[in-house]
């Protein structure tokens, strides 16, 4: 991986300067220029009237233009060389060997300017930011890409199915994101058409569309449900556009993932920097016989909405075998230690208590007639969610275990509502902590926390393991054990 020193990358793309400058700042400057040409005799009075705002905008402009002109980026024999700063000059070289990941990102606006963001990250530093990030022209970004890829041929290619992306978008969609989009639209429509007209439109549409479904639902609950549903749909579309055309490729020492339609992201992950690989399955995915795969490493998840996906939801065999092919981590399990028997209660403790409380509330709601139908409906929705939670915990209980193979420790546990099977390479394990409560001590059980080489002290936790068997398994692979 060598490249002769040249000046082709000396300057970054001017878009890197533009992205910093907010639109209101530009508009304000335009107004100033307009006024200068229209009324040059009143310039002093005009600037005085603008006061600090104009000064602030000009300072921002001056700062980013100067920063742009002072920023020099090069690819040299030693690595990515960067010189930047106006008052505080910074100069550094990121050696290619220390590079953990590289990311290329472009969206519609940067496409219009023919610019593409190139970000490089190492294990160094404490900030959750890339070590080097700059906008280049797409041609130059392509040259960087070609330089990283070299002349190797892809060893493994995975293309996601469109149906799996739709399903994942549906589950990952957050209605709050949709509301953020909706609020300004509703607000502006409200202002233009008048509040009464808007209310009439919304209520009218709800009455027509939800007439049958919402026969026993109060208008307030129906309106709330409609807003949440619409927000969720917008959010789903947003996630879908971000993950559609998902592809993973193994190319030499890198795993390349690319995704997105309107925003294109292409990331290069060095295989030796992977801290752990996790095969995920929710209860719904279990019903559809699907699994997905994510990766944990130093620079993963920096970008907004990035879930470090390696495989989108697909059949068991595709994901299991694909994970081995793309990362080189074997998926076979040896010396399996399952969670201790008779420990189901500790897995279902919280959902069971909430279920009992909700059940009691529903029974009471029929006893006390003043409780509104909408409130009762909410209780039914909650109890459905809790039953789902209870079922998931039972599912997690039946699958929780640890195992080893030649290269990694396998920890099958759950996080939130997802069953995760972590494959942690031995060299990435910092230590394993075994904790036990007084009850666990009496029954010779423990909770294991495996600290992984990663940012923010990432760890994997599994409950109710038989203590002796766990210690024996970890000791057989010389994993440092911290007992408490």
């Amino acid at each position: 991986m060598r490249m002769e020193k040249d000046d082709r990358f000396k300057r970054t793309h001017p878009y890197s300067m533009l992205r910093h400058i907010k639109i209101y700042a530009v508009l304000l400057v335009l107004t100033i220029v307009q006024q200068i040409f229209l009324r040059p005799d009143e310039l002093a009075a005009f600037i005085g009237s603008l006061g600090l705002n104009a000064f602030y905008v000009l300072t921002v402009l001056f700062y980013f233009i100067t920063e742009y002109t002072n920023r020099v980026c090069r690819m040299t024999d030693a690595g990515f060389e960067v010189k930047s700063g106006i008052f505080f000059k910074r100069q550094y070289i990121i050696p290619y060997r220390k590079m953990c990941s590289a990311m290329f990102y472009t969206n519609i606006i940067s496409m219009l300017f023919n610019a593409e963001s190139v970000s490089v990250d190492t294990a160094g530093g404490v900030r959750r930011k890339y070590d080097f990030s700059a906008y280049f022209s797409r041609k130059k970004a392509n040259e960087v890409r070609n330089f990283i890829e070299g002349d190797k041929e892809p060893e493994f290619i995975f293309r996601s199915r469109i149906t799996s992306i739709i399903l994942m978008s549906a589950f990952w969609a957050n209605p709050v994101t949709g509301i953020i989009f909706m609020v300004p639209v509703i607000s502006n429509v409200n202002r233009i058409l008048g509040s009464e007209t808007v209310q009439m439109i919304i209520m009218g549409s709800i009455n027509q569309q939800w007439k049958v479904i919402a026969m026993w639902i109060s208008p307030a609950a129906a309106l709330l449900a409609a807003i949440i549903l619409l927000s969720w749909a917008i959010s789903m579309l947003n996630v879908f556009l971000r993950y559609v055309r998902f592809k993973s490729v193994r190319l030499g020492e890198y795993i390349i993932t690319s995704k997105g339609l309107l925003t294109r992201t292409r990331s290069y992950t060095r295989v030796s920097c992977i801290s752990s690989v996790s095969i995920d399955q929710s209860l719904f995915m279990k019903l559809l016989k699907l699994k997905s795969c994510t990766v944990t490493m130093i620079s993963a998840g920096r970008q907004k909405g990035d879930r470090s996906l390696l495989f989108s939801a697909d059949s068991y065999d595709t994901v299991q075998n694909g994970m081995t092919s793309i990362t080189g981590i074997p998926n076979e399990e040896r010396s399996v230690v399952k969670r201790a028997k008779m420990s189901l209660f500790s897995y279902i403790y919280y959902p069971l208590i909430i279920f009992i409380v909700l059940l009691a509330l529903i029974i009471l709601s029929y006893r006390f007639r003043f409780i509104a139908n909408s409130m009762r409906l909410l209780l039914y929705i909650f109890i459905f969610i809790v039953v789902w939670w209870l079922m998931f915990r039972m599912f997690a209980y039946s699958h929780s275990r640890i195992a080893v193979n030649d290269k990694c420790l396998i920890v099958c546990t759950f996080k939130k509502m997802t069953l995760k099977k972590h494959y942690i390479p031995f060299e990435m394990i910092q230590y394993a902590e075994l904790n036990h409560s007084p009850f666990q001590k009496r029954k010779k059980k423990c909770t294991m926390i495996v600290s992984v080489y990663s940012e923010n002290k990432r760890s994997v936790k599994i409950k109710q393991l038989p203590r002796e068997a766990a210690v024996r398994l970890l000791s057989s692979k010389d994993i440092v054990i911290v007992e408490k």
Binding site: D77, A78, G79, G85, F87, F88, K89, R90, Q91, Y92, I93, I94, P95, Y96, R97, K98, T122, A123, G124, G125, V126, D131, I298, Y453, E455
Partner: protein, 181 residues
């Protein structure tokens, strides 16, 4: 290991005291403005805060900064970069050279005037500062660490001592344009 430092033990230069004293004095300007603003409404509070700030200023100027500089020692060898610092509580950090991901050479306005710099060692999950060393020393240190990484990149298993070049990387010695060192 291919190269050795000519002078491994490096104290920060006397100019560091001047730079930090100027920095502290500059810090007092916004503090003074804030105190004036507070004084317009609560004069007594401003006076108390002013006395505390003045005491802290003189403590920093004539005791803390000189003592801190006196006790700040950097040592470099083939395997470790050692930083000793602290006045009452001594701190001793040993950083394996292999754990340095990359290093940043930073130069502020005053440091530029006094030909000094700060080298930031970016480690896995943290960073370490080597403050107020001479510019040529900083450059040599950065070059040295980068060259080590490049050699590792070329052939990580190559430990043939016959490849050792005769030139040494002079970090501590040599002096700079202003005649120090």
């Amino acid at each position: 290991m291919k190269k050795n430092f000519y002078k491994p033990r490096v104290r920060i230069s006397p100019a560091a005291v001047i730079i930090w004293r100027i920095d502290l004095t500059l810090l007092m300007i916004p503090l003074g403005i804030i105190l004036i603003l507070i004084g317009a409404f609560v004069p007594v509070l401003a006076a108390v805060l002013g006395i505390v700030a003045a005491a802290a200023y003189f403590f920093g100027m004539f005791f803390y900064i000189p003592m801190y500089c006196k006790n700040l020692i950097y040592t470099f060898d083939d395997k470790y970069i050692t930083i000793k610092r602290g006045i009452i509580y001594k701190r001793h950090a040993m950083i394996p050279v292999s754990s340095v991901q990359y290093c940043i050479l930073v130069q502020g306005v005053l440091q530029k005037r006094f030909k000094r710099c700060t080298v930031v060692l970016m480690l896995a999950g943290s960073f370490m500062l080597i403050s107020q060393i001479k510019l040529n020393e900083g450059r040599f240190l950065v070059e040295y660490l980068t060259s080590l990484q490049m050699e590792e990149e070329k052939d990580p298993n190559d430990t043939d001592e016959n490849d050792v070049p005769d030139d040494t990387l002079n970090v501590g010695g040599g002096g700079d344009a202003d005649g120090e060192g």
